[in-house]
């Protein structure tokens, strides 16, 4: 029934081969774009078919072995694919978004050098991501894991002539190495420790079935899961390995949308969800995950307050939202985490593509006016609402979604996470507080972005301001689809407390994912408990938080610019009073905004630049230094070499013969 599952990764791979090998000869951008889009669209169609089939199916877990990979002793490793509700959701997410974004790129990348290269990388990425998601064992997943990493570096460094771009590619490279090493070490330890219990396996289904053989909460499980989590922090940009993601914005915007927002960076979350049985056995690791996730959510949000580059704000926001997902994983809210992963993919892809549309327009205008201003700086924007209406509305809806306004998608998912972080058996009010504060800042800085970009008066250079066009349909069509998803996508996970009031509306995603997570949650007594009234109260609180955040942003970036001028003209006395007495704005600025901004900047400087970079560089320095020291042993003199051989022989003989 599911035996053609391998078609899903195959199509983009074929697309990659065609564009990669023949793209240089084809030259025609339309054809290259069509091949790239068609390849991934085909696998989207197949994914839909299997997804629908799985919905009807009573048996929810299907493994398909394409061919045997290798067998070592009792260990049998296959090129196997696994279709279960979790991977089914993920392939829908990956193929769907990849299709839209590849289509979008046809317009966005128009005229770029190496057009074919871009599309072949994009298809290769989709292939690797699908392998990661569909792999039925940890090794196939690792193949995908490395593959997506590779494509990510290549695409970040796409504008390799630009030093910052190639530096960013290198940074992503180095940081991810650390994480991948953790993944591999975890895999080895898992393989070995299960082997000690007589089960040689790395298949996910068997790991889940045999995890109980390891000591519950024991040292081994904790170390293994921590190693895996280290892998996740690298790929998913969590503290302390998050620094590469903001720099990764040097890549083309579709790449930021697809790889660095919607799909690849969520691989860490997916991996934890995939091995939920194992992670649930290590409460200590879960606690670490929850704390790191919460801290990242909060920390990245503070940094987001102080950025002026439109893509950088979105990048820090992505880090922050990924933090939410890890927070969810850490408190055992696996369903909520995956749910947020999906809604985040919708709205963040839409936001990135929207920002791409803005940048595209700004770039066009500057190009037209022969100016060299930064098309990504929000301080040069403003008032774009009128110029780019479609972009504006899609962007607005997505921003409402990310802020958690009721009935937009992230309202459901984020609220679910916050509720679990408070009420789960593995939750804590401090975790909730971190999440709630981050939500406040998220609403604030996202609307700050919207107000600075689309509202107010146009701050663009006068020579360029009239040449900002709305983007063509090839760009706006994906935006509209994604905005629709960002708006309504949340309906797949309406919580029970709400659902029962609107005609027993089911929590579709929870029911669908139940075969994956329910067993674990039962086994380890992970549940959210609390009265419906409490849940409603906290739902209300989070809505309140979102509204406050938006209001603050409105006050400072929308209201303030016009208000002073009007008041001064009409009521000079009142003006003075306001000026001298109230000082509300100054108060806000001095007491809230500036310190927070300052804190954000300082934190950014300390952690992002000094500490983490220093750490990364420091490790490299130590390693290199010892390499240099060792090199001095290579003197080049034959007698020294002979001497060292004799010394070696003498030492060995002394140890073994005269001992």
């Amino acid at each position: 029934m599911y035996d053609k599952l391998w078609l899903i990764p195959l199509f983009p791979f074929v697309g990659f081969l065609i564009n990669g090998l023949l793209g240089k000869k084809i030259k025609n951008e339309k054809v290259i774009g069509a091949i790239g889009t068609l390849a991934i669209f085909s696998s989207f169609v197949v994914s839909c078919k299997y997804f629908l089939q799985l919905l009807e199916d009573s048996n929810k877990v299907h493994e398909v072995v394409v061919t045997s990979w290798m067998s070592v002793g009792q260990l049998q490793v296959d090129w196997g694919l696994l279709l279960d509700p979790l991977s089914a959701l993920m392939i829908m997410n990956v193929t769907g978004l990849a299709t839209l974004i590849t289509f979008y790129s046809i317009g966005y990348m128009h005229g770029e050098e190496g057009y074919f290269r871009f599309f072949s990388y994009l298809n290769l990425f989709s292939f690797a991501m699908l392998m990661l998601v569909l792999g039925s064992n940890a090794l196939v997943m690792f193949v995908g894991w490395e593959g997506v990493g590779l494509c990510s570096y290549l695409l970040i460094g796409y504008y390799y002539e630009k030093k910052s771009a190639s530096d960013a590619g290198k940074k992503a490279f180095v940081v991810n190495r650390v994480g991948d090493f953790g993944f591999l070490l975890g895999l080895f330890l898992l393989f070995w420790s299960l082997g000690q219990k007589g089960v040689w396996t790395i298949r996910f289904t068997e790991i889940a079935a045999n995890a109980h053989l390891l000591e519950n909460g024991g040292l081994i499980v904790t170390i293994i899961t921590l190693c895996f989590f280290l892998g996740a922090t690298g790929k998913s940009a969590q503290i302390p390995l998050y620094t590469w993601l903001p720099d990764a914005m040097e890549g083309p915007t579709p790449v930021s949308a697809l790889i660095h927002a919607a799909t690849m960076v969520t691989a860490g979350v997916y991996m934890i969800a995939r091995m939920n049985g194992l992670f649930a056995m290590a409460p200590d690791t879960m606690m670490v995950i929850a704390i790191v996730g919460g801290a990242t959510a909060l920390f990245a949000a503070t940094i987001g307050l102080a950025q002026n580059d439109i893509k950088r704000v979105l990048a820090y926001s992505t880090v922050s939202q990924l933090g939410y997902m890890f927070l969810a994983m850490g408190v055992g809210a696996f369903t909520a985490g995956i749910f947020h992963l999906l809604t985040h993919a919708f709205f963040k892809a839409c936001l990135f593509l929207g920002s791409g549309s803005v940048i595209h327009g700004m770039h066009h205008a500057y190009h037209h006016a022969h100016l060299d201003d930064d098309p990504q700086d929000m301080r040069n924007m403003g008032g774009l609402r009128k110029k780019m209406p479609i972009t504006f509305y899609t962007f607005l809806f997505s921003t409402l979604a990310i802020s958690g306004i009721p009935f937009f998608s992230a309202f459901f998912s984020k609220d679910e996470i916050l509720w679990w972080s408070l009420s789960s058996t593995r939750g804590h009010w401090a975790l909730w507080l971190m999440g709630a504060l981050a939500a406040l800042m998220t609403a604030f800085y996202m609307f700050r972005l919207v107000f600075m970009t689309f509202f107010g008066e146009q701050k663009t250079d006068a020579r360029a301001k009239d040449h900002i066009p709305e983007s063509p349909l090839v760009i706006t069509l994906p935006l509209m689809i994604l905005a629709a998803l960002a708006t309504f996508g949340g309906l797949m996970g309406v919580p029970h407390v709400l659902g029962q009031y609107i005609g027993h509306f089911p929590n579709a995603i929870e029911n669908f994912l139940a075969p994956i997570f329910e067993h674990t949650q039962h086994l380890h007594h992970i549940e959210a408990h609390g009265a419906a009234a409490t849940e409603f109260t906290f739902m209300g609180i989070s809505v309140g938080i979102a509204v406050v955040g938006i209001g603050l942003a409105w006050l400072m970036y929308c209201k303030k610019p016009q208000l002073p001028g009007l008041i001064v003209a009409k009521f000079p006395a009142l003006h003075r009073a306001i000026y001298n007495k109230w000082y509300i704005d100054e108060f806000y600025d001095a007491m809230v905004v500036n310190p927070t901004k300052k804190l954000g900047t300082t934190l950014w400087l300390i952690f992002d630049v000094r500490l983490v970079d220093g750490l990364v560089n420091g490790v490299a320095w130590v390693v290199k230094g010892s390499g240099r020291a060792l090199r001095y042993t290579q003197t080049g003199y034959t007698h020294n070499y002979a001497m060292s051989m004799v010394a070696g022989v003498v030492a060995i003989i002394a140890i073994y013969v005269f001992n």
């Binding site: 002793g73 090129w79 690792f142 193949v143 073994y656």
Partner: protein, 486 residues
């Protein structure tokens, strides 16, 4: 005396050395062809060498699963010998493929080059099929003497001279240790036959703890470890590898290394199994030392040839892990890894051969800047080889490391496996640097258009296909490696 002749005649079994016999005959023919050829004409010699390797390979493959012993227990052609024979033949064949254009470019179109490669391959094959210390020593000498000459083949280049001389001096030095060790083992056991030595030590356990026997074992392994370039006997390797002609470096880091492994494995497992406690603890330390030394030395190299040379030390360290494990997975893993390493390393070297300019001026990392965009296809092939060297799935290098480390885990050497994985992680750094230069750097000067030479191109493509094949479906080769165990 009549009796002696009869037993000698009965024991003659050419089938037991058929592949090396065929190759040796071809070698002599090649020698004569060289003598009668016009100066500077080498293409036909290369071609005949390839035919020789193919013929020899054919006779080897035909002997699969049909073990032949001969010459009074001095040589066998079992699956084990055949597996290694194929590795040597592949290494030699790929090397010859990439050599022709290279020799012309460097100004040494001399046919003896190929003859020497053929003869060194004969030596390697004798080492793999030798079941007597004398046969193995004979093979080692045939192999080494040819290699000394090949290392110093570029007579006009000082560095090549230096490489040849250093290799010769230190090689002779290590041979001394080897022979002394063999003499001590003979002194204790009274025989040079591997099986008989094994039987002797099994029958008298006291002899296995005899200091003379242990000293013999240690000295003998020193000789082989020198050839494999295991720390602290590795110091010759970087200088020799850097100075030798690039294809010869590729060959040396694959073929002879595998030959020394073949002999070492056979001696340790067949003859000195009763001393396993001693040698495995020694090799444990040396393996770790080697991995660390090789990797850390490679970190700072800006010259790709030298970097690959250092890293080949580290790779020998990984392979040694399999011998320490000394179980089925580990040993068959070593066999697998030797084959995998032959492909991936020679593939990478072949790219160097193509990219290098006359006098080897272009082998620094800088020379690879922007390579990924100027020559995307070649860069992709290089990337695959590098990935394999790093041990990233699905590549032959990954499967090999996986088997070896799995063997170590299975035998209970957890820390060794972890150190191995750690070292692989370190090695990523310098391999990835090449990729960083290929994909993230702008070429500094105008990129000289590389001409694709058919031989080298075939070599690279074949290597990459094999690397991918052994990475995606390693079970086929792995089951062959398993059948090759004795």
């Amino acid at each position: 005396m009549e009796n002696l002749v009869q037993t000698a005649m009965q024991n003659v079994n050419f089938a037991a050395i058929m592949p090396s016999l065929v190759l040796a005959c071809f070698g002599m023919v090649l020698l004569l062809i060289n003598a009668f050829s016009r100066r500077g004409a080498t293409a036909h010699v290369a071609l005949i060498s390839l035919v020789a390797l193919l013929t020899s390979g054919y006779t080897a493959v035909m002997g699969w699963n049909n073990p032949q012993a001969g010459f009074a227990g001095h040589a066998v052609l079992d699956n084990y010998a055949i597996f290694f024979t194929i590795i040597f033949l592949i290494a030699a064949g790929l090397t010859i493929l990439m050599s022709d254009s290279y020799l012309k470019r460097e100004g040494y179109p001399v046919g003896e080059y190929y003859t020497l490669i053929v003869f060194s391959t004969v030596g390697a094959m004798l080492m793999a099929s030798g079941t007597d210390l004398m046969t193995i020593f004979l093979g080692l000498e045939v192999l080494s003497v040819s290699l000394y000459v090949l290392a110093g083949f570029f007579r006009g280049q000082l560095r090549s001279n230096e490489a040849g001389l250093k290799y010769f001096l230190l090689g002779a030095f290590s041979t001394g240790f080897l022979l002394y060790g063999m003499a001590l083992i003979y002194g204790v056991s009274g025989t040079t036959n591997l099986v008989d030595i094994g039987a002797f030590f099994a029958a008298s356990p006291a002899a296995a703890t005899n200091p003379v026997a242990i000293a013999g074992m240690l000295l003998m392994s020193t000789g082989f470890l020198f050839k494999i370039a295991i720390a602290p006997f590795h110091m010759w390797a970087p200088d020799v590898y850097e100075g030798s002609p690039t294809p010869i470096t590729a060959f040396m880091s694959a073929g002879p290394k595998a030959a020394a492994f073949a002999a070492l494995l056979r001696i340790f497992l067949v003859s000195l199994g009763s001393m396993e406690g001693t040698w495995s603890s020694m090799l444990w330390v040396l393996a770790v030392l080697t991995m660390i030394t090789g990797n850390f030395l490679a970190l700072n190299q800006d010259n790709l040839k030298r970097m690959l040379a250092y890293s080949s030390i580290a790779h020998a360290g990984y392979a040694l892990v399999g011998l320490v494990a000394a179980n089925e997975i580990g040993i068959s893993g070593v066999l697998f890894y030797m084959l995998a390493y032959t492909f991936m390393n020679i593939g990478a070297f072949a790219v160097l051969v193509l990219v290098g300019k006359q006098g080897e001026e272009n082998l620094t990392l800088q020379g690879f800047a922007g390579f990924g965009y100027k020559r995307p296809l070649l860069a992709v092939l290089m990337t695959i080889c590098l990935f394999s060297l790093m041990g990233i799935p699905p590549s032959a290098g990954f499967s090999g490391k996986f088997f070896i480390f799995a063997g170590a885990l299975d035998a209970g050497y957890v820390w060794l496996a972890i150190l191995g994985v750690l070292n692989s992680a370190v090695s990523l750094y310098y391999y990835l640097r090449v990729m960083v230069f290929m994909y993230f750097k702008d070429p500094e000067e105008d990129f000289e258009w590389i001409q694709l030479k058919p031989g080298a191109t075939i070599c690279i493509v074949l290597s990459v296909i094999a690397v991918l094949y052994m990475g995606i479906v390693p079970s086929g080769v792995m089951s062959l490696a398993r059948q090759a165990l004795f």
